[in-house]
Symmetry: C2
Subunit: 166 residues, 2 copies
Amino acid sequence: MAKEAKTLDDLFHDTLKDIYFAEKKILATLPKMAKAAQSEELRAAFEKHEAETEEQIGRLEQVFAAIDKKPQAKTCDAIVGITEEGAEIMKEYKGSPALDAGLLAAAQAVEHYEISRYGTLIAWAEELGLEDALSLLEETLEEEKATDEALTEIAKSAINQQAEAA
Amino acid sequence: MAKEAKTLDDLFHDTLKDIYFAEKKILATLPKMAKAAQSEELRAAFEKHEAETEEQIGRLEQVFAAIDKKPQAKTCDAIVGITEEGAEIMKEYKGSPALDAGLLAAAQAVEHYEISRYGTLIAWAEELGLEDALSLLEETLEEEKATDEALTEIAKSAINQQAEAA
């Protein structure tokens, strides 16, 4: 294979490096979001997802092994941008009653990025016949979807509490 | 209201400026993606979404009007990062059989960002009682979801075609 002729294998490998970087960035960001969260419920959700993210990183390392590659991170501009927006919210809404709503929105943008990336990797793993990688990626995708749903529930319950207090 | 005490109204307005920037960036990016696409089906999908994006920008301008604000864009680091990744794919996979798969993945990352943002804005519009904004945002969210599903279908059909050709 000539170096110029990039294939779906290369695209799978490149995207794996991208999400590996992203998960590590998320792992570094979650403790800051947990610390900033005003409600106990949101803080607990971030802490739970931090533990899950560590496992997800371990699973990605198994996916690298499944394609005979060393785990390697490649700067993912998307997650850098998404987490910068979250950092901006933490700064601009510090002490504001809307802070948690902003943190929730930032976290859901992260989840949706991950859902999109894992969905793509799963489709390619299927095409490439990477059975082991497939089941690892599917396990993580289910966790990300569950996290997104849990965040939606927290957002709804926060809205209801405020409505009742009004 | 003191300038320091940012409320959910401010968060709604800030996020509206963010997605307004994002939609304009997407509108500028779609013709490049359409030009790069190898399959007619993918090119047509990007062209269709370009027309939709123009309408979505018009709807956002109506949402600004509904909250008595002038349309204003605020740099959205997330979409800058996501579209940079797409530009990288176009460059690195030019002439590769995997180019369309990469373009599809990039476009789905964009769609998921938008789905997350519109979902958030809808929840806040409900809480703030912004009825007019709500229906405009819901209309766009449905379009974004339909676009994401259409892209998934194109990805599947491309995979099947390759499998049949193999």
